[in-house]
Symmetry: C2
Subunit: 121 residues, 2 copies
């Protein structure tokens, strides 16, 4: 989760994520959206995003197509859920983690809903 959160902490990388959220985009086209920055800089950001699992790459002839990877932000969302949920729900979640010693995988889709419920302060 560390890598994902660190990756998302950068505003340029967040902007890239939004760009590739709804479909694939080649690297060059992504870079066009950042005229204030060199193309290699964007390429390096893309590498960070891929390495942290937030984005997928796919070669397409000459180019390389990038696409958002939903799973990548799962653990980050789990952290927010943990913070926002009430103590009881947190204990419950801890118990669930006990049964899934590794990081829980597909179970967080439902967690997301619970955060929404408690996000209104």
């Amino acid at each position: 989760m560390d890598e994902a959160l660190r990756a998302v902490a950068d505003p340029t990388r967040r902007a890239i994520l939004r760009l590739v959220r709804d479909g694939e985009l080649p690297a060059g086209q992504i870079a066009e959206h950042f005229p204030s920055m060199s193309r290699p800089a964007v390429s390096q950001h893309l590498k960070v995003l891929v390495d942290s699992g937030l984005v997928d790459v796919r070669p397409d002839g000459n180019r390389r197509l990038y696409r958002w990877r939903r799973e990548g932000l799962r653990s980050a969302a789990a952290f927010l859920d943990e913070m926002w949920s009430d103590r009881l729900a947190r204990l419950k979640r801890a118990a669930e983690r006990e049964e899934w010693p590794e990081r829980a995988r597909a179970a967080s889709q439902s967690n997301r809903a619970s955060r929404k419920d408690t996000s209104r302060d």
Copy 2:
């Protein structure tokens, strides 16, 4: 939101947040949970958390009591929601932002304009 996300990207600070989530704790007691690290290091982490709005401080005689601040993670959660929600929900949220003229505008501006060009290639 930048500051909050960057603050949360550090594992030590996340651990601190969990410590002060359910009640106030004095700095020293927080530092006790990190025997592998010097007390000033923890103090500096606390400063980062306060400056980024994730934590509140309150003087109490000799000591300083720290407490989690729910509001602090709101924008970070909003970003995750924006990523996860479907396109329709995202437009709805954008409309809400329109009448709620706070921040989170500069980053999404270039996206919207360009996505139209590239959404279907």
